[in-house]
Symmetry: C2
Subunit: 338 residues, 2 copies
């Protein structure tokens, strides 16, 4: 699975995330300090649980978007640090709240924070981080940027609820799936990039370009994530394969394999994803069916489509290291898959 197709190249350094990381390194150091400072509390669970998540080796792609967009706009103040930190806190809160499972799911548990500290602590520390995020954003006094992220918070939660509603439903269409990931993933990427331009007081067309860049990058990112969950590449990265399958999540690889499959194959998907009746060898069958119908390849093709839109959205900016770095990030997100 996972195919190597040359990415449609244009500008960009071809250096993966390296250029981006180099450009934002100084500001990201300040973001890291702000994360630690705002996760402080005399209530010990709060810094403990936050440290568990913050040190879990995430790439911090979302706050990097905010920093890079602000730098691209020539911003030299402090507000982008607060917004980038708030974006990371909003993302972390989402992870914590996502991990809270229904009673029926208890035995499938992953090694998530909730398994160490419990469901309630995960929920409440998530709420604390959301509260801190809003406090930091209000401190900037930038109402326009605040409105963008407050709106994103509502859209993300709505997307998560929608995902819950279509969960286990094999008749989910590609459009419905795109609606879910547009809200639960792409909305935060879009807002993260857009607020960078807003704090830099850049004109509307640049704000819109970065919003579009972030949104389409976010869709591509989630598509590739969903493809990796059925891919052997994931195992090489030290991550587990099949989490989505075990949780009955309907992602694009399944949507495609289900629609392209025989009646017998559809029965397999219904049994394993709708009725929660999975056997030990079902994951292997699922991976084989996804592979048989070329669903990983085509999911990544779809990701490439959104990556191309993100790239074109950036075309209004003149060449610069920051523009190159942001274009590289698109390629990085997609090339994780091969």
């Amino acid at each position: 699975m996972g195919v190597v197709v040359a990415f449609e190249k244009g500008e960009g350094s071809g250096a993966g995330l390296e250029l981006l990381m180099e450009l934002v390194a100084g500001d990201m150091e300040r973001v890291n300090e702000a994360i630690l400072a705002h996760a402080q509390s005399h209530v010990e669970i709060i810094p403990e649980l936050t440290a568990h998540l913050v040190n879990s080796g995430g790439k911090r792609l979302r706050p990097m978007m905010t920093i890079a967009a602000a730098q691209l706009g020539g911003y030299s103040g402090d507000a982008h640090i607060k917004f980038a930190t708030a974006v990371e806190f909003m993302h972390t809160a989402t992870l914590l709240h996502d991990d809270v499972v229904d009673e029926s799911d208890l035995r499938r548990g992953r090694q998530a924070a909730r398994l160490i500290w419990g469901n309630q602590a995960s929920v409440l520390v998530g709420d604390y981080l959301l509260g801190q995020a809003f406090k930091m954003m209000v401190e900037t006094k930038n109402l326009e940027a605040l409105a963008i992220l407050a709106n994103a918070a509502a859209v993300i939660a709505e997307g998560e609820v929608l995902q819950l509603a279509v969960s286990h439903d094999t008749s989910t269409t590609e459009d419905a799936y795109l609606q879910v990931i547009g809200a639960k993933t792409a909305a935060l990427f879009a807002a993260a990039a857009e607020v960078g331009a807003v704090v830099a007081a850049r004109p509307k067309d640049e704000q819109a370009a970065l919003e579009s860049y972030g949104r389409n990058l976010g869709v591509a990112f989630q598509l590739v994530d969903d493809a990796l969950d059925y891919s052997g590449k994931q195992a090489l990265l030290g991550k587990s394969v099949g989490d989505d399958f075990r949780e009955g999540k309907i992602t694009l690889p399944v949507v495609l394999a289900y629609r392209r499959g025989s009646e017998q194959e559809r029965e397999f998907w219904k049994r394993t994803l709708e009725s929660n009746g999975q056997n030990d060898d079902d994951l292997e069958t699922a991976v084989a069916l996804v592979d048989k119908h070329n669903a990983i390849h085509d999911t990544i093709e779809r990701a490439r489509h959104y990556g191309a839109i993100a790239r074109d959205a950036m075309a209004i900016f003149p060449s610069s290291p920051h523009k190159s770095a942001l274009l590289d990030a698109i390629e990085f997100c997609i090339s994780r898959a091969h």
Copy 2:
């Protein structure tokens, strides 16, 4: 249990909540409309679950504080409607997130939203309501009021985590307990009343007076709530008695009964609250011990103390129907107990 002690009367109509409800009725109608409007979503679970909570017959005391404080300040704009609605959404989100239980608690479940829609829906719809609350508040463009409620959101969550940390700990002191309820309950009452004065652009001393009124009313309210959970009066109100006991929550009636009790009695509290080993007749014993040590009576005495502070905080305002109504609310909160 529950004793009738004449409330130290001063100003106030003596009409319970009636005067307050009459004064705010018009604006509360607009708050109700805003609640319904902002709980709309094409994702059906969101309006369904919100309606379940919103129609559950709560008194909406918190948004009434915001409306009454704004009216007291002569405010005639729209921002108080948005803030009052946001306050109610923040409260509702807290209720939803409170209901999420740890694995170990699953068998003690109450008929909460999570039992109908599941833990995840409760968490995510709570997040949605929080997002909507922030959106509405940002729309007012009142940064000062926004900062107050953003700060309250973080403090409330911190208080909830603290409560989790001291849960099941019979050695909790009265001070530690007051710290918990100061954060988890009183902070929202304080912010709800304060923002009313802030949107009305009243001077700092009036803002501080309403903050103090709300904070102390909130403490009194929670103390009485905690007393009622061990009181026969609660059964008369159609609410269940002993929820806190079954959940191993350490509230003031228990703090007092534990400290005043014999070694044998303390062993009882440790077994039932710390080890989760409760028998069918333990609640009866707990109620009897609380009664024996006069802990309901004294919890309400403590509430009366905070009620008196709330009353004095309001002394800087000249007589008016709104002032009377807010003073009545103190008496109402305390007199629920007898």
